[in-house]
Symmetry: C2
Subunit: 661 residues, 2 copies
């Protein structure tokens, strides 16, 4: 199992130091005996990574100079997974993106027959950054005399500075075209995190293929802010007495390989380098029926544009999943802090640059939560009280992408909801300024694009947009999207009211939907081929909860054009195996209009077919002093909620069990 294979390949990946550090984190004993029943949707195993690489090498496609930006399971066709029974054999395919010099190739590999099914060059793309790009960047900077001299002029020796390898985006700037470039804002090292000590006014653009500093800018001198480190805070706040989760008889979930079962739920999990946590094959046991709800759900892209025109800042318009990898940025979860001590912690294997893999220990945690709330209740003066306590299951991953820390939770409830949650913590992107307080004459100008959060530091305004790809399969593969609009109407008598007018979206154009609370609509996925309770078409709603944000970038802004999935909160497409990432496959320095805008231009039919929902969750972030230095978690969530799917409240039959009375 994963746990025994920790660190085997880490040394090769260039992340050795980091991984050593990870080893310091404790790992809980599994609450459940884990078996390892294989499943067709399992991620590639350590052996399979190595095997795929060996096949490519034997076939003569790769050599020692080859680097893998992608190496992952090529998902088998949905219909083959659906007819598969546990214990049956299945074939395994892998997909790779290989960078060789300035060329990029896509490969499809059959691990069963050990053959390369396809080897195709993809032109004019820059695949995701890899660890070697980071290492090269740091080396090139350290060897660059001009850069070292400029830092020395500021009083910093090379080992007193750390730089961030940031993507450039694409702003149609001719001198940046056709090169693999990394932009490097730097920070002064010191006590605690570097991110509160930005060195403004100086950066390099490094060409990691040409092995040189391609551009160097030294255009302003701002004293580096000197705020106390987060970790040295002193206070007289009293420690709380312990409060934990009490499970005297153990956990209620089981893990068999990558299949998790809890209460009436079953689903498959895996951690992929790009998308991070992927849940698949989500079913609910409804009486004697295993009913399908969600075939696959994951983060497909993540767009974080900052709102400052400074030459070092304007390009901070990250597509984190496609540029860095959401899973590749996975971090170990700390027992008792990141997840309760009662959690089961699971490792994950992530492919490295060389076609092998390294293990992130405690990359995922699974735990149950007594919400403290009832699942339902009713008190009646004559017939008494009835109610049940609510428990939910949480599957969580965490990723640190530079300064930011993200959590992705998939929460499963006893009343049939699936609730993805996005947590954001870590450090805001801080910009150094002269202003020390809002009373300074420079304050208004310095805080034009952010908030002064500490003397000399601006938390720069920014957004976070997450595209969730949700391959829904409500009671089967063929589904439709119904827009159930709440429409004001005069009704008989003295009253007006809203009534529901339902419309099935026929094509992609009819399903580009923005959330508007003044003209509310229910977004309902349903199966028109099945007869649900009292002959309703069984369905699930996508409910945005607190995760709505409109992009405020101009449609012509290149940053927007690379992340145009943010134009709508909901898109619906017919399933296509190669449509996985909302902003396109190759987003690093990538082209405009890729992904959803390009795919949906055809306006394909989406009625009663295998449809995929793309939900753009988002939030604007105007930083506040309270976000400094490390911000409190900001949680945003949406949910899939059953709607005429079950024949009654699915939490009704929760056992009265361990209530106190």
């Amino acid at each position: 199992m994963n746990a025994q294979m920790k660190f085997r390949k880490a040394a090769k990946s260039g992340l050795m130091v980091s991984m050593m550090l990870l080893a310091a984190c404790a790992s809980m004993d599994p609450l459940q005996e884990m078996q390892a029943e294989p499943h067709p949707l399992d991620p590639l195993t350590l052996n399979e990574y190595t095997q795929a690489t060996a096949i490519l090498r034997s076939a003569g496609y790769i050599n020692d100079a080859s680097r893998f930006t992608v190496l992952e399971l090529l998902d088998p066709p949905k219909r083959s997974v659906q007819v598969w029974q546990p214990g049956e054999d299945f074939n395994r395919l892998a997909f790779a993106v290989v960078k060789q010099g300035s060329q990029t190739f896509e490969a499809r590999i059959d691990l069963g027959s050990e053959t390369v099914l396809a080897w195709t060059e993809v032109e004019d793309v820059q695949p995701s950054l890899i660890v070697e790009d980071f290492i090269n960047t740091f080396r090139i900077l350290a060897e660059d005399e001009e850069f070292v001299a400029a830092m020395a002029a500021r009083g910093y020796a090379p080992d007193e500075v750390a730089c961030s390898p940031m993507t450039l985006g694409n702003y149609n700037i001719p001198r940046y075209q056709g090169r693999r470039l990394i932009k490097t804002p730097c920070y002064a090292l010191g006590e605690g995190s570097r991110f509160t000590r930005p060195i403004e006014g100086i950066f390099a653009v490094v060409d990691v293929e040409a092995n040189e500093v391609y551009e160097f800018m030294d255009y302003a001198q701002i004293p580096v802010a000197d705020n106390p480190a987060a970790t040295t805070v002193s206070s007289n706040r009293q420690a709380l007495r312990e409060i934990g989760i009490y499970q005297p008889d153990g956990a209620n979930f089981s893990v068999n390989g990558h299949v998790i079962k809890w209460d009436n739920w079953s689903f498959h999990y895996r951690l992929e380098k790009r998308s991070g946590l992927v849940v698949s094959d989500v079913h609910y046991q409804d009486g004697d029926n295993q009913r399908s709800i969600l075939y696959q759900g994951a983060v497909s892209e993540l767009f974080v544009p900052y709102m400052d025109p400074d030459t070092m800042w304007y390009s901070r318009t990250f597509l984190d999943a496609g540029e860095y990898g959401f899973g590749a940025s996975g971090t170990p979860l700390s027992p008792g802090t990141d997840c309760p001590l009662t959690s089961l912690f699971l490792d994950a294997d992530i492919p490295d640059d060389f076609g092998n893999a390294f293990t992130i220990p405690n990359a995922i945690c699974i735990f149950e939560r007594n919400t403290g709330d009832p699942a339902w209740r009713h008190f009646e003066f004559d017939s008494g009280f009835e109610g049940r306590p609510a428990v939910e299951l949480v599957v969580r991953m965490g990723a640190t992408i530079g300064n930011y820390d993200y959590f992705i939770d998939w929460v499963f409830t006893q009343d049939g909801r699936i609730k993805p949650r996005i947590g954001a913590s870590g450090y805001d992107g801080y910009k150094g300024v002269l202003t020390q307080s809002m009373s300074d004459a420079t304050a208004q100008a310095d805080s034009a694009f952010g908030t002064l959060v500490a003397p000399g530091l601006i938390g720069v305004n920014h957004d976070h947009f997450f595209s969730f790809r949700l391959d829904v399969d409500i009671d089967g593969i063929n589904n439709s999207l119904s827009l159930d609009r709440l429409v004001p109407r005069d009704i008989a008598g003295p009253r007006t009211a809203w009534v529901i007018e339902s419309e099935i979206a026929q094509s992609e154009a009819e399903a580009k939907i923005n959330y508007n609370p003044a003209r509310p609509a229910i977004w309902r996925v349903m199966n028109p081929n099945q007869s649900g309770p009292v002959d309703h078409a069984p369905g699930y709603l996508l409910r945005p909860l607190n995760s709505i944000a409109y992009t405020l970038l101009d449609p012509e802004d290149p940053a927007h054009q690379r992340a145009a999935f943010t134009q709508h909160q909901l898109w619906v497409t017919p399933y296509a195996a190669d449509e996985r990432y909302a902003a396109g496959n190759y987003v690093n320095q990538g082209d405009f209009g890729m992904g959803l805008p390009a795919w949906t231009a055809e306006d394909r039919a989406i009625e009663n077919t295998d449809i995929v929902l793309w939900y753009s969750a988002g939030f604007h972030h105007a930083p506040r002093v309270e976000d400094f230095p490390i911000m409190p978690f900001a949680w945003h969530e949406f949910e899939l909620m059953p709607y005429n799917f079950f024949s009654r409240n699915p939490a009704l039959d929760i056992s009265p069990q361990w209530r106190g009375n």
Copy 2:
């Protein structure tokens, strides 16, 4: 203390049977020794209720025919509370609304000097319903030959039927003016709750002053639905192993009289007959400073309009707080189901019709919740992991208003947030129809205004709107509302962005705000007189989270005109002692345009003064089969979040304490 006084007065109130039943509910031992330090904002004690009544009687204002619809503390002036020190004496005033025959009087009583300060008739109003109104309604119906005969014709003896005493609203119907009327839809009794067995097509309008059935309608025959009771569900769902909250060293909060302290928070709680749970005097201990945030917060009104034109249904447009009383509808909370077993349960005394009081046992619970989430975290590849687990405090009440069950939570977090939550469970309002399934020919017509949730039952479409009155005092009494709009702008270089344009609302008209995610704005209350961190004006944001709904009723609809607070999600008024209820004081059969629309017509100044926020939380409810028979809890919440109030993340100094590693 309250716990010892259970049931003392219950027998008088006509709620004896119900209260007997309440006694069956277990009550936990308090986790903390309770003392009883009096506070000027404490609710009237049992003695004070009796004393106030005695003073009115001695002064000759009331007699045996007098009935109290209101009897409560008259809040002392804010400034007197703020200078008060624990242990100091303070005077107590009471406010009463007394109904004598068809007349209504308001009284102000000085309990210290035992004098009646004011006794004033209020003309042309119908004060809130009282228990005697319900009892009279049932008696009048049972004695009405026509009604009894009509039920007999349907096959029901009087003791096989239960009717709901529903308010009529006000639809400018001349024959209803000037009478105290109650409308009575009825249900067939049987196993489980009556609410799944409505008897459609027959109702009475009872005049509880004239002691007669004023109107009787018998206009349709619909067979009563026969669905299994919620409580007799059988299933093979496995009981989960116990999962609870573990607090080996006890709770972290203390209760002193009505003052609760937890972590850095302190606040006062009470349960009022109309508003339910009121929190007051909310402070945060910030280093050596006790900083004020919220002087008082409570539900000020609750509007639940149903969307069916049927003659029995159109008038279901309840203003539950003003018509029935949100606190008066309080129910005991069940340990282990409604609240965790680790909760402290507190009783509450509610005035009865006669100017005495009865006790609701376990009316409030207080508990801590390990959220399972970190308060904050950051992982860095070189400098390691830092984070803290998050705990929150919940103070909860529950109210059952007919078929619906509501929870109001006030949640306090370690990072300085106050998060009010609304939970809704219980039974939807079900309407009996002929349709048994959506395949029936009658299905479309029968479900025009709701959802077929079971054979013969429509869950009728409706809304819930809650007006929260939030008397904010950020670092002092005088505050302003700043609208910080996120405005798209061309910035230098290739980029566009949003920038913040702040505007202080000068008068009430500038602070009638609707939430629009396409043109986002931050709603910020701030104190322009104080210098906060780095000289920001300290502030708090009101953030709607998932609690936004626009009313879809026509502005001319009488139902809307009685609840016009729903026109805007946010209103701001200058503090006025007599402006407490968003739809006005006398909402039962009440006039149009009362409360916020009337008060703000003056367009008073609200800049740098003592302001009150009125937040209209809301949600549309299109019922679903899964809401049947008892709906899973639907939670909606908003929050007050510090914004440049603290000088850093206020959760930063949480002790590393009982982390697992």
